[in-house]
Every structure is written in C-alpha cells, then in structure tokens.
Symmetry: C2
Subunit: 357 residues, 2 copies
C-alpha cells in the first residue's frame, strides 16, 4: 500500500506504533514493528539524554529505521501550597508504601525546557529518521534545525485548529488523536474537555483543512480500523494498545492482563496520575482521585508526585495503583507477536476493501 | 448495496435519517429520504397521539415507507424543592421573556408511561413499518405486540453492554451512537460520562458481540463516513446533522445557519436544555448553565421548564437561547436537497472503495 505518507516515512505498511512512554517501547518492540514493515517509535518523553542515547543505540542494533517521540514542554506554575495540598491528598499512599513525601524532585519550567533542547540535540546527533511531538509544537528554531538535518517531523492534534497550527509550523505530517486514544491527550490549544472528538468526525474535517498527510490515532486495533481510517482520508494509522499487549512490548504483565481480560469497553479520562488528561482502565487510584481531580497540580508536577507510588505498585503488581493506559477498544486486544498483528491487519484490510467493492 | 439490514428495512441505500425530535423531521424531509432510497424517520418522542397520527398521515401521502422513533420513558423523581431551585436558576430568562414560572406542566413518570403506551398503539394502528427507540428498551409486552404486527424494531446503544441488552430484548437491529452524535445521548445503562465512546472503537466491539445488524450513528456526513462505517462492520449509517441542514428539513433557519457557517469542529455536551445529556453548538444558555449543570432536574422535568424559553427564543431567532443540536462534524454540513446528499454519499462511497481496492 503506497501513498504520500508511506513514501515520506519510507515504510511498506501504513502502520505506526504509538510512542508509549514509560518503558513500554523496548528496542524489541520498536524494531519488531519496523522490521515488519511499519514504523516503530521510541517513546522518549520521560527519558534523559543518556537514557535516550542508550535506547536509540539498542534499537539501532536491531533496525535502521524508526522514529522517536518527544514531549514539548508547556509552561506551568507550581506553588508550595499546591504541592502541599497534593501531598496531603496522596498521603495515604505515601504512608502505605513508606514513601518520604519530601523526597521528590520539583520540576521547573526552565529545567523542562533545557531537557527538551538536549533531547533534540540527541535526535540530531543520532540521526533518528523520524521525530514526532506531543503536547505542542516546538519553536521555529528547533523545527528549522531538525529539518536541516533531514529529520521527518510529525505533530499531534486533537482538533482541526491544532492540526492547522501543526501544518503552519512546518510539520511534515500530523497525527490526529481521537477521543478513542489511550494514554495522554495531546491537546495543546483547546481545553481537553472541548477537544474530545471521535475519529469519525476528526479525520475528515482535518483532511479538508490541511495539505500535509494525516495519521489517525485512537482505538484502531485491526484491519477494520485501518480500512476505516483510510476511507476517512487518513494515510496511515498509529496503534498503541494493539502493540502494548504484544509479546515484544515492555508493558507490565498486569497491565497487559487487565487489557486482555476486560469484557467491557469502558475506559476513563483522568488527570490523577500525571496532571494531564489521559485515558486508561479505571482502578482504585483513579476512583479515589475523582473528587480531587481539579485540585491536583499540573503536569509534570503531579507526575513527579505520583512516580514512586506507581513504581512501588508496579513492583508489587498492584493493579489498583498503576496507570493502566488503554484506548477505547480493549476488547479487541490480543496477546501475540508484532509480525502477526501487522500481517493480519494488512490481510484483513485488503479483504474488507475487496469484499465491499 | 445489499446486506442483511437493507433487506430487513427494505431500503436501497444503507442510509437512515436520524429521528430528530422537535419539528425537524417534517413529512417533506422524511419522505424525501425514503423516496431517495434511504429510510426517513419521524422523531415522535415529544408528540402526543393526535400530533403523531397527523404527522404519520401526512408522511403517508408522500411515501409508503418510513420509520418512527419513540422515547422510552425512564423512572425519575421530582420534588418541589428541585423544581423551585431550577426555577430560581432559570428566573433571569423567565423574566426577560415574560414567562410565568408557575405556568408549566409537571411531568410525572405515570403520565410519561401512559403516553408511551398510547404512542405504541398509534404505531400499530397506523402500521408504521419500522419503529426505533431511544433512552432504553421497552417492556417485553410492548416488544411482543409490535413484533406480532410485523413492525421492524431498532434499538439504540452507546456501549457494548447496551447493544447486548438490545439484542437480548428481541430488537431486530441496533443503532450504535458514538460520541460524535448530535442531540440526545441514548445511554440507558451507563452513566453518560462512561459511555462516551468514539465510533472507531464502538462499532467493531459491538459487531463482535451481537448477531443482529448494526447501524452506525455519529458525525457521519458523506461517503467517507459511510464507507468507514461499513469497513468497521456496520451495515448502514444513521445521519442527523447532514439532513438537518437540508432544504427539506424543518429545523429553524438560525439553527441551519449556525451549523453551516461554523469554521470550527467544537460542540459540547450539555444537560441544561432537557435534563439529559445532548450535544450541540455552544451558546450563551449553555455557558450560563455550566456551573449549575449537575443541580438541574432530570429529563423530562428540565425539558418542560425550558420549553417556553426555547420557544420564545425560536420566535425571536435568538441563537443564544435555542438548542442548537449538532454532531461533531458541523464543518462537513451542506445546504442542499436530500436527493443530492444521498446520491453523492453513494457515489463517493463507491469511488473511495474502488480507489482503495
């Protein structure tokens, strides 16, 4: 299947693996996608430069084609009283897990900006072929520098307006993230309560307003999703949850199990884990936080405050306190290998389009 | 295009006009859809039996094939203090429009149930070929009676669970309503904050769990939407906003204009007009009510309380106080006639599927 986007990204199949930050996108997973004809992506949002470099080099031993995703830093303010209130709210978990409430790094907008600039330099030095962005659009200077180094740039949008801004900035392509998508919402202009648009509406409206190729993200798990996205005008799909439960993925066993065994289509949006809205499967932590949702500090402050809780929960395989990100199609998830998923998505797509014709 | 559903509904094209209650689905609109090969539907939720009979007979003079939609009554409680609080909230509008706050009918669950039973009798007496339901599933007795009279029954679901319940009840088909859909959410099991699923996720998960044919509703406006819905496993689409702005529709001129001139994809969910969650274009009334949203009485009480405000706003063409229902794809709306829309949707679908094959 060939189109403008598969040529731009130099891939055989119009399938991109979503950049799931936090240890899911192992070198094995990224390479398996790329070696099966799609585009694997390292979710580097939370990595410092030395971690990034290590991961990139590991991937390079397995494949020479892949992408990387960075979080564009947003302005945020954090007062001591905000932090103290959040610590009060989280106290029961700190206590349960013997976590010292003082013992966490307070992120600052300046260090966040500095980290981002350094991450961009690593992308350039390591000549990563494709770089995508979440939570906003980088500065003109950063975009110019990356383009001078022939790195293909992909932005993220949750509304028509955000897609137009991505095109204006010089992005080569834009991923439109529907309400179906798991993990963090990439919204950066609209309040996320306004940008909650289903792909059935988002894709065609964006396609009509931009000239760069559009990638569809959210709830796409099989050939039904890929063929539908293509009908709506997208040139490729980005799949997260579908690869998260694969054998090659680095997701926690419990995270995979929860998704694979759900008999329900219910997921929820929460900002309780990181301070930004994200979609996952409901558990005790999310339920406990519902009433306090609006009081919690912004990203990445809340993320720092809950980091140790999540890491202890992970070690203890405690599903009630982990962030169990999932898109809206958990019932379609399977536990198989990447090559099989990709081959089946392509075969099913061909069959559907052939049968309907 | 033939499938199980087009045969069941005896239609040429897999296109159903959404039952928009409140004067939009004129005999002209309903008949134009059916005479163009789709299925027109009278939105009868708010009609009493004599209004219903009049509308049905008017439609029958223009076409012999069409459907009707009824609201399944839900239990609700209403206390004097609830009503007084709501009247307080609405007081500024009552005052502005010289509406007497005492002067409205308090709906009761018993009269609502009675009206529904009478509506069902009219459907049977008038031999309406297809009857669809919103807000729930009717009793076994009602379903049995309608089926004995060879009326095809279509339920509404916003989650997999609700779709399964529809199949169990004996519905011949189920319409799955994605988050993209304009107007009222048909949710009846899940709290609507949980059932907000995009069609990209909802259709395939439902199709895997039921054997009755599935109709996709929400944000579908053109051949891109129809072909995508078919790829996902639906056998037909239900289109509301796309027909609302047609020449034949009875929607208020201002309502059509607002949708046709929007340069944005933004709509909102509100329960401020009726007490049930519904999607429309934001205006002053919705914004004024945001903070009080959760305090307002249930459907149909709030609906009764705001009825006169909406009707005066309508007469005055005041867009700020009307309910401007719209799906999430207002940018794709067009002001043309029904026949042209249907012919173009079918031609575009064929072209898309041909090109992608």
């Amino acid at each position: 299947m060939k189109n403008k986007l598969t040529e731009l990204l130099d891939i055989k199949h119009p399938i991109i693996q979503a950049p799931m930050a936090g240890g899911i996108t192992t070198a094995n997973l990224v390479a398996a996608i790329s070696e099966s004809g799609g585009l694997g992506t390292l979710g580097a949002g939370y990595l410092n430069t030395s971690q990034m470099r290590k991961e990139i080099r590991e991937i390079k031993q397995k494949t020479n084609h892949f992408g990387i995703n960075l979080f564009v830093p947003n302005e945020f303010s954090v007062s001591t009283s905000d932090i103290n209130r959040a610590i009060d709210i989280l106290q029961p978990y700190y206590k349960e897990f013997n976590i010292n409430a003082e013992d966490f790094e307070v992120p600052s907008p300046m260090t966040e900006r500095q980290t981002f600039i350094e991450q961009v330099q690593v992308v350039i030095e390591e000549q990563v072929p494709v770089c995508s962005f979440t939570f906003g659009i980088p500065s003109t200077e950063v975009i110019k520098q990356l383009k001078q180094n022939n790195i293909v740039l992909v932005g993220t949008a949750t509304t028509v307006k955000e897609a137009i801004e991505n095109e204006k900035s010089g992005m080569d392509s834009v991923t439109v993230q529907g309400i179906e998508a798991g993990g963090h919402r990439g919204s950066f202009i609209n309040d996320s309560n306004e940008g909650l648009i289903g792909l059935m509406s988002l894709i065609p409206q964006v396609v009509d307003q931009v000239t760069i190729p559009v990638i569809a993200a959210g709830g796409i798990m099989d050939g039904r999703g890929l063929s539908a996205a293509l009908c709506l005008g997208a040139e490729a799909v980005q799949m997260g949850t579908a690869f998260l439960t694969c054998i090659e993925s680095g997701a926690h066993k419990v995270h995979k199990e929860v998704i694979l065994t759900t008999s329900d289509d219910q997921t929820v949006l929460t900002r309780s884990f990181s301070g930004k809205w994200a979609r996952g499967i409901k558990n005790k932590f999310i339920e406990d936080m519902v009433e306090k949702e609006e009081e919690l500090p912004e990203f990445p402050v809340q993320n720092s405050l809950t980091k140790k809780i999540r890491s202890v929960a992970s070690i203890q395989s405690n599903r009630e306190l982990m962030s169990l990100w999932s898109g809206q199609s958990p019932m379609l998830a399977r536990n198989t290998n990447v090559k099989e998923i990709i081959n089946e998505v392509m075969a099913e797509t061909e069959k559907i389009l052939g049968d309907l014709k």
